[in-house]
Amino acid sequence: MVVRVQTADFDVGAELTAFTAGRTDIGAVVTFTGLVRGEANGRELRCMTLEHYPGMTEAELQRIDAEAHRRWPLQSSLIVHRIGTLHPGDNIVLVMAASPHRLVAFEAAAFLMDYLKSKAPFWKKEVAVDGTGSWVDARDSDADALGRWS
């Protein structure tokens, strides 16, 4: 139910504490964190730049979040996605899903990530250690992952 796009890093522990603060009804929280890998297509990565579509990004993340709540009895959800220049080991994305029991939280968190990867308007440009930049191609496996929810 909360969606944020930001250049700043996030603290997973602090986010989790805030996510469940004052709640005694939540029985399960599934947390997913996506990180920048230091290798891309066999090349060592110096950094990557995340570009997005301001306005549509927030709208699309809200639509994805609303769809998750329509499909599962979620008690709460959180999507945080970073933009700008990121380095190997940095956080990129955080998803949390809360429900009374674990299965719903696991499924909804996976759904949120699969939809985010195929629908949210973000684009990654990788810069290798030799300075060459290249836009990341979309992966067929991400489209396949989406198919399992239809």
Partner: protein
């Protein structure tokens, strides 16, 4: 009809602009029409937009399929498949 076009990622780099304001011909009515029209706007556009099926389109900040109408649209965005997450 004057519409704001937005470009992202390598589409933006190849076109050489992040946005432009254009007057659409009256017979450009769908997403497929506007993609075909873009390909007629010179060599740079042709190189980007004749790669049929690659460029994705959003109309007023929502994903739009080729058959979707662009009637009344204020903002049309063109971009490669998304790669966030």
């Amino acid at each position: 009809m004057t519409v704001k076009f937005l470009y992202f990622a390598w589409v933006r780099e190849k076109i050489g602009a992040a946005e432009e304001h254009v007057v659409l011909p009256v017979d450009v009515r769908t997403v497929a029409d506007v993609l075909a029209w873009q390909a007629t706007r010179g060599d740079t556009y042709a190189a980007v937009f004749t790669a049929a099926g690659i460029i994705r389109v959003a109309v007023d900040q929502a994903h739009a399929q080729p058959a979707a109408s662009i009637g009344g649209a204020r903002e049309i965005a063109f971009f490669p498949p998304v790669t966030g997450g």
